[in-house]
């Protein structure tokens, strides 16, 4: 009885904590890294006062946000106003359940892992809409509408990109998808090569889906102040922040898992130690992808709203549909050797 209780309840909770606590720490350090990188690109210092090299800045920010008062606007809908941040955070964290960190390290090796991811990421939009509506503020509502339209539009392109990966890998299980990319040629065995356009579309859609620059009309500081979370303060705002960054890191990990071979080494397996597969490779790849988010933010001006919609519907979706056919042909006629595993 006690044994089973431990097996069914205690260990899963321990595993979940093993993922979420490092994730939250990673978000804190990612915020610091973002400010630092953007500072360098602007020829500034970035945060450098708190702790050595400013490393404790993120923690100081967290403490500041937590001890601030959460202000409830008088005309807001009380229940939904407090519910919205949680509805944003929960799917952002829940999606991590199926991410495989290495061949054995995965919380839930679900057969329909990719579908589960799609389901979870599509739930995140509720927090945004409700935050915008419950705040009862014009800016917040405008931001929420923009954000929701954008997320729904780019989800389609993203889904079609996933279809290409599924066709080549022949599985919805993320561990199987990575294993299908294994081979002796290292880097050249991964899906990014036969699916290059789709890979690019996937990552750009990921940037748009997380409402990051240059697709950040939903927040658009210069137009609508901060979008859907303009009325939030203190810890409620911190939760939105946490969810946004957790989603960015999730997209980085997914790009690495789906297109860049996950935990596989980029070097041929004959190269000895550095040719071995392992968890650090996934971290390095995800770090490079998450760096792209910051690079984009510091480099590109913001897209106009209709340009975003046009890019999603009239450019990305048609290309992705065509590439689904191409991927089908690649698989059917056996034009590529990858996707068959070792």
């Amino acid at each position: 009885m006690v044994d089973q209780l431990i097996n069914h309840l205690v260990w899963p909770i321990v595993y979940i904590l093993c993922i979420t606590i490092p994730l939250i720490l990673a978000v804190a350090m990612f915020v610091y890294w973002e400010r630092k990188v953007i500072g360098w690109m602007h020829v500034r210092m970035g945060p450098n006062k708190i702790g050595p090299l400013g490393l404790l800045q993120a923690f100081a920010d967290v403490v500041k946000l937590l001890i601030k008062e959460v202000i409830l606007p008088t005309t807001a809908n009380r229940f939904l106003y407090y519910l919205a941040p949680m509805l944003t955070l929960v799917p952002a964290l829940a999606a991590w359940a199926v991410i495989p960190f290495s061949g054995k390290m995965v919380l839930s090796n679900a057969n329909a892992g990719v579908l589960y991811l799609l389901a979870m990421t599509s739930l995140g939009v509720y927090g945004i809409i409700l935050a915008g509506w419950a705040s009862n503020s014009r800016y917040a509502l405008l931001g929420a509408m923009r954000s929701a339209a954008q997320v729904i539009s780019y989800e389609l392109a993203m889904g079609l990109c996933l279809v290409c990966v599924l066709v080549l890998a022949g599985s919805l299980n993320l561990t199987d998808i990575v294993n299908a990319q294994a081979g002796h040629k290292g880097l050249l065995d991964w899906f990014w090569l036969p699916l290059l356009p789709v890979f690019v579309i996937y990552f750009i859609s990921g940037v748009a889906e997380t409402n990051r620059a240059p697709f950040d009309v939903a927040e658009g500081e210069s137009e609508i102040v901060a979008g859907f979370h303009v009325e939030y303060s203190g810890s409620a705002f911190a939760i939105f922040f946490l969810a946004e960054y957790a989603n960015m890191i999730l997209v980085s990990f997914l790009s690495a898992v789906l297109f860049m071979g996950g935990w596989l080494s980029p070097f041929p397996s004959s190269w000895g130690f550095i040719g071995h597969a392992g968890f650090p490779w996934l971290l390095i790849k995800a770090f490079l992808f998450s760096f792209l988010f910051l690079w984009f933010r510091a480099s590109f001006p913001r897209y106009r709203y209709d340009q975003i919609m046009r890019l999603g519907w009239k450019v990305f979706i048609p290309i992705a549909i065509v590439w689904v056919l191409v991927a089908g042909c690649l698989k059917y006629f056996g034009w590529v050797t990858i996707g068959t595993g070792v």
């Binding site: 057969n111 329909a112 599509s122 929701a148």
Partner: protein, 217 residues
């Protein structure tokens, strides 16, 4: 606590939430709350299907209904400007009609369940389990081989629906003066708007220094 018991507890929990949420949909006064209750109902139903090992259906329900359809629904409801009091005015007047409809539906459902029960066939084993593959894989196999034609026809009908929806909403106001067409904006060629002229840098002619005039007296 064996797995079966845990599953049973989960079943009743999800089922209870689904029923309560479904009741909330029709009793809550605030329309936005009602829509959210509907979302919760869908979500609980998806959890129930997941318990029944129908993982593909469960996730598809969340992706399609919760993630897309209900979001649009929520949008519409949020934009509505409803007078709550006015909506509740005709309650007594429409009550008999509502009761009749409800009774008719109850009789129909009971009849259907009764007929089904009479022709009760013992459900065979789960075909996915028999084939030794996951539910999703089995469903994919069945849809794309055995039921390919109906599947494609359904897809075609949906596509027609999409085209019709686009055609219905694709209209332009002719009377609008402060309206800019997005497609026109996109089609603009930058060269029509700004002309960049290349000019050689020319040193302006040096004005000849005017010699200071001697004050003449």
């Amino acid at each position: 606590m064996n797995p079966q018991l845990l599953q049973l507890i989960c079943f009743y929990l999800f089922g209870f939430i689904a029923v309560v949420a479904a009741l909330a949909v029709i009793t809550l006064k605030n329309t936005v709350h009602a829509v959210l209750s509907l979302v919760l109902t869908f979500f609980s139903a998806a959890c129930l299907w997941m318990l029944a090992d129908a993982e593909f259906l469960a996730l598809a329900l969340i992706v399609v209904y919760v993630g897309a359809v209900m979001v649009l629904f929520l949008f519409v409801v949020m934009m509505l400007d409803i007078d709550q009091e006015k909506m509740r005015e005709g309650f007594v007047k429409f009550l008999p009609v509502g009761l009749i409809v409800a009774a008719a539906m109850l009789v129909e459902m009971l009849g259907l369940i009764g007929v089904k029960a009479m022709h009760a066939q013992v459900m065979g084993a789960d075909p996915a389990v028999v084939a030794g593959v996951s539910n999703t894989a089995w469903l994919g196999q069945a849809l794309y081989t055995k039921y390919l034609l109906p599947f494609e026809v359904a897809a075609l009908i949906l596509t027609v629906g999409v085209v019709a929806a686009v055609a219905l909403t694709l209209r332009q106001r002719v009377d609008a003066t402060r309206h800019e067409s997005a497609s026109e904006q996109v089609r603009v060629n930058p060269r029509d708007r700004v002309r960049i002229v290349k000019m050689d840098a020319v040193r302006p002619a040096q004005p000849t220094p005017v010699p200071p005039q001697e004050p003449s007296s």
